[in-house]
């Protein structure tokens, strides 16, 4: 303490902003370390806020907003990530609220994948089959669950609000794929050979089929149907030839690409039928 304090004139000039730069700077430097003078400034400012045109801000209102802001739960990491990617706060909440983005669900999916990948890495041919049967259907199952009204009661109040269904479904699909694809890819790295990536096109194709099918039936139901069909096909193939090459053939892969394109076209054409996801209407 220097024993030096703001005198009343200086304080008034500071609050009224009629001081010079040097005087203001010295006042500010002093205020940082002198509690009594800070209290005097605060008293002068809040007194001014009560009446005259000198008021700075409405401290009571700012306090209310601050308290409200700290009392609502912080947005999840995922939601903040979406906002960071440039999505407006409201849409980020709408996308992130899907139960598919809750930790437990994601952890379950990751565990299944890890199991399949490990089996592939250590179990040779059989394990590779297992990975190939699981990996392509994971994305479409996760996508379907991200907007299926049955899976996700949180969707109900959102869908009654006039929000474009197409946008919501696509946003959630993209968000879920951005999460699921890297995970599956990562687990695929421990799988020997090209199998690690052979599932990509089938996976994209299945997601598109589920999107298209959800203009008729519930997304989860169509995802389960697609998955069952895939499992039946791959087990049939395994029983007959016992080699995973068939899925890797360029012709088959091209077929999956065509499937994806056709399904997505159907989805876009029938996008208005997405309203059938609102069964209570």
């Amino acid at each position: 303490m220097t024993g030096w304090h703001l005198d009343d004139d200086m304080l008034r000039r500071y609050v009224e902003r009629t001081d010079s730069l040097a005087e203001g700077a010295s006042a500010e430097q002093h205020l940082l370390s002198c509690e009594p003078c800070r209290a005097r400034v605060t008293a002068a400012v809040t007194a001014a806020a009560g009446g005259t045109g000198l008021s700075v801000i409405d401290f009571a209102a700012v306090w209310d907003r601050t308290r409200d802001a700290v009392e609502v739960p912080r947005p999840s990491v995922f939601e903040r990530l979406l906002r960071g990617a440039g999505l407006p706060a409201q849409e980020a909440r709408l996308v992130a609220v899907a139960s598919a983005f809750r930790g437990v669900w994601l952890a379950g999916v990751a565990a299944v994948l890890a199991f399949a990948a490990l089996a592939a890495a250590f179990g040779h041919a059989r394990g590779v089959w297992l990975f190939l049967s699981v990996a392509p259907i994971v994305p479409c199952l996760v996508v379907a669950s991200s907007y299926d009204p049955w899976m996700d009661p949180a969707l109900e109040p959102e869908l009654v609000t006039p929000y474009p269904m197409l946008r919501l479904v696509l946003l959630r699909t993209i968000a879920v794929l951005a999460l699921a694809l890297p995970a599956v890819l990562l687990f695929g790295l421990v799988v020997p050979g090209e199998t690690a990536f052979a599932w990509l096109l089938p996976a994209v194709g299945f997601v598109a089929v589920v999107l298209a099918a959800s203009t008729w039936v519930s997304p989860l139901r169509s995802a389960i149907a697609v998955s069952s069909a895939w499992l039946a096909a791959i087990w049939l193939l395994a029983a007959r030839s016992g080699a995973p090459e068939a899925v890797l053939q360029a012709r088959t892969q091209a077929g999956f690409l065509a499937l994806a394109a056709a399904s997505f076209a159907i989805f876009l054409v029938r996008r208005r039928r997405l309203h059938q996801l609102r069964p209570w209407r």
Binding site: R17, S20, V41, I57, F59, T66, A69
Partner: protein, 178 residues
Amino acid sequence: MDSRPDDETLLLAVAERDMGAFRTLYERHAGWLAIRLSRRCNDRDLVADAIQDTFVAVWQKPRGFRGDGDIAAWLWGIAIRRLVSRLRTRGGVAAVSGHPGVAPAAEDQVLLSVEYGDIGQALARLSPEMRAVIQAVVLDGLSAREAAQLLHVPVSSVKTRLYRAKAHLRAALAEGPS
């Protein structure tokens, strides 16, 4: 002399999610922070937003204060940066501090020359733009980038103005009082 808890005690209580302590901290500091911010930015809504952001940040990370120096200085560091980031997201708002730039009255000149020697007069002779830069960089300790955002000018202008202002001051001080 009084039994009011000091700021560090309050901050510890805030870390324990004590809303009462948080409110006391707000009442104790929002006033002077707001007046100091409003000397940098004419837009009252922005100042209010920056104050809100500051205290939300304090609530979220009360342990950001490492116990060195004064809590007031720590708070000010948060507040001025929140203001800068609000300015950046709002964009386009004329926010140059617009220091009233009233020429110091005769008695102030005396006071200043007692307090600061010739610095006060030298500062008073700077153009408003240069004073704004000096205020942001030298007195508020902002980086050139932050100062550029605060004053809505390119970073390069901040650097050249700071350089010129320093040269100006140096020359003025070397000349002695005119």
